[in-house]
Amino acid sequence: MMVELLLLIQRRSSIVFRVTFILSVVLRFMRLAYLIGYGVEIEKSPVNSASLSMLSWPKPATWPSIPPDSSAEVMAKEKTILQAKAREKLFDIQRKPLPLEPSSLLREANRRRAFLSVGNLSELYDSVDGSGLGAHSKLSPNKSSSNLMTRTMSGPATSETSLPVDRPMRLSEIHVAAEHALKQTISDPDFMTSLSSPEEFESRYMELTKGAADNYHRSWWKRHGVVLDGEIAAIFFKHGNYDLAAKSYEKVCALYSAEGWEELLADVLPDLAECQKILKDEAGYLASCVKLLSLESSLFSSKERQAFQSEVVRLAHSEMRHPVPLDVSSLITFAGNPAPPLELCDGDPGTLSVAVWSGFPDDITLESLSLRLSAFSSADEGLKAIRSTDARVLVPGRNIITFDIPPQKPGSYVLGALTGQIGKLSFRSHGFSQDGPVDTDEFMSFEKPTRPVLKVRKPRALVDITPAVSSALLMNELQWIGLIVKPIDYSLKGGILHIDAGAELKIEESQMIEIESYRSDGEHSSPIDASKVLSRPTDTGRVEKVPIENGKIKLPDWASDVTTLVWFPVRAINDTVPKGTSPASPQKHSIVDGMRMIALKLEFGAFHNQIFERTIAVHFTNPFHVSTRVVDKCNDGTLLLQVILHSEVKATLHVKDVSLDLQAGFEHLGKGDGRPTSSLFPLVIAPSSKAGILFVIRLSGTKDLDELEQADSMLHIKYGISGDRATGAHSPVPVKPDDSEELLFKISLKLKRPVLDPCLAVGFLPFSTDCLRVGQLVNMKWRVERLKDLEEASLSDDEILYQVDANPQNWMVAGRKSGHISFSEAQGSRIEIAVTCVPLVSGYVHPPQLGLPDVGDANISCNPAGPHLVCVLPPTLSTSYCIPA
């Protein structure tokens, strides 16, 4: 039978079922080897054990008896059995010896000897050891003893070969008996040689196994094939052919590792590691150690695991010829916090804590540990690694490691890789564990963990600073400027506000800055409302005074998260004296004049890395805008000068006193103290309203025109102000305690003397008749009056030229149209000029005009003289021309 099977093998069929035959042949062959005592040479691998322990032993009707004169052979076998030792595995892995030669051989062999009853045998063994032959079936708690037991049973000190009838055969005797019996039955010489010595057996065994493995691989039964590869590797290993052994072991490990059968892997991997150690394949050896460590901890004892670790540490600290980065993804895993990702603002550093699980059985000391973050949605992997400043010892299990993150670009970041160094060995882990079992699904495992651990927001406004005043402040006075500092979901802790006043603006540093909490009424309504409704410090609001140094204010801690109002005193400087306006000299008022710029810079953030800069414009103004006009000019040369005060601020002004220093060429009438005629002080001027003050002045008799042009009148206004600083202008900040609240405002007014005085007045006298009719004569009369003494040279003549202009189509002038008329030079002299005219058309027509060509229009008052249009009636009907019908 055996020969047939061997022939079958040699055909090397690739069909699976034949391969299965090959395997069974291999097993049967091995069984034979065990039968004749070569078993100790065979690697006790799982496949052998699994196969052999369950493959039935040959069951001949009667077990062959020991041939005579075989004591030497028995002794030899005895010796090999005794000398056989389980190979010591690396790392002191204590595996229980597999039951390769189960006691069933002993039992079967002895049972088949007709004269021994099974019952007696059991009793015999039980009496020896207490566990006995029935170890398999008797549910012995000491499961490992069966093998040892058979060994001890096989080697007692008795050396006699002639067995007494009642003594069971020993194992060595069974081997010898079986060998003799086999040699008699086997006819194939080839097969005989295979069984002749252990070496021959092994080469044949190798040949068969290789054939089977190859055929399994060819028929895609890779698992079966790989199992046989392991057997081949074991033989290579035994013969010191470590290179080939490692290659075969690698194949086995690769399959088990890929399919995740860790128990099987745990059995083969130490062998591979041992090969690699012998071959000085440091990289492979380290990788195997790491893999061993990352297997389920229940598969190895803690002592074994510690041995793995110490190997890794030993290698890491030794000089490696080719230092290689070690992938520890399965051993050291890491994950971000289960909490929402850390959110940072652009430019902010932060600390990220990462949970790192160490699979090492003991604490492991790291030289360094750094973490790579990779951007979530971009291929930009070239981010700098973040080093941890934390402790360098990883305890077994979960460690929380904090990493300081320098400012990053905006975006989302996921954990990239963890790198570090143990001794001189740099390692790298890509292992993500998402707070739970490592996901093993094929599809999922190639995806990056989608949960970002760090979000760096796009640059956004973190704080807003707006001026709190909506209207103009007082020029040249110390005024509070309010700044609303509003953090936008960002702490301003430790913030420093730099205030840089621009030109013509001075910050009064002797004063304290007031910081108060701020609540806008419109904060919960729409933003439009919020801008309208102005802030009002709440009663419960906190107020703190802080100093200002070199334009810097340190924000107090309580103000870091709430909207605050920062008040600081400034004085806008404007040295030019303001000027009033009059109808004669209207002045363009430019709003830019009162603008002052304040540059603000707020440094905040954990490392003052955030900077907010803004320039705000604040409007300053004078309290009053003054305009003048002459209300009335009396005949006696008295002028009523009305001074109108326009309030420019949104605050109530109390005018307490006003005095006017008149320029040369004018003088006050009355008391002459420059006060207005009526005493109505204090005068209260509501915001944006006007008040008028009347002065009675007259021209004084100077004739020096140059002097008149240069000097201005000065109006001094003493006033007080009551306003809210949140609204605008308000009472100035008292620098000294005794500063009165009375303010003085000076404004220059330019009064102009009347340039032209009319010296003649022309009046149109009423018509003598009620109505004008076409064709009827009418007298037109003008009266010319001399108003004052003529001084101009042109009018020095006492005769005056007159001229009547009339439209010849409408009027016929009867008499002289122009002529000279004598006119006295004395003031108040008057003459009448009369011209007779006939209206020619009816309707509203322009009347004739009297012109005085020698006298300029400016010297004539009431010019043009006379009505604009007159009504001319049609002529009355003449009856003499009527012909009766």
Partner: protein, 141 residues
């Protein structure tokens, strides 16, 4: 009687996601990975057999002396493998069907990641109870 029985669920990626020694015989640690060994090798047979039939229950696919490997393949190609020495095919079939229902319940759990190890102790208890019910020959229990 079923003194030895080893039940393994193998995911579609050939990774064992659940293992249990459900035999009534006391667990032999040395033999635990013999069982794994046999079951793992039997995957080779299953990969061929699974496509030859529409049935989920493949009956016994492999035989290792007195031990038999019975396999049940779900629609998602998850394989339930039982290494046993009993011959009660009906019981094994019922066992597989009930375990399949349990497995589907596990699968429906939103927190369970398909393909990962089944760590539910509830599942474990249920499977062992089913094994007692179907695999052990009445008479012991």
């Amino acid at each position: 009687m079923a003194s030895t029985a080893c039940f393994v669920i193998v995911s579609k990626n050939d990774i064992p996601i659940y293992e249990a020694e459900v035999g009534s015989a006391p667990k032999k640690e040395d033999l635990a990975y013999h069982h794994q060994f046999i079951l793992h090798a039997a995957l080779d047979v299953v990969q061929d057999l699974a496509w030859t039939t529409n049935a989920m229950f493949l009956r016994s696919v492999d035989r290792f002396n007195d031990l038999v490997v019975s396999v049940y393949v779900t629609a998602g190609h998850t394989r339930f493998m039982l290494l046993h020495d009993s011959r009660s095919e009906d019981g094994i079939k019922s066992f597989f069907q009930e375990v399949h229902e349990l497995y589907i319940k596990i699968f429906l759990n939103p927190l369970y990641l398909p393909g990962s190890r089944i760590a539910s102790s509830h599942f474990d208890t249920k499977v062992r109870a089913l094994a007692r019910k179907y695999l052990y020959i009445r008479g012991i229990y």
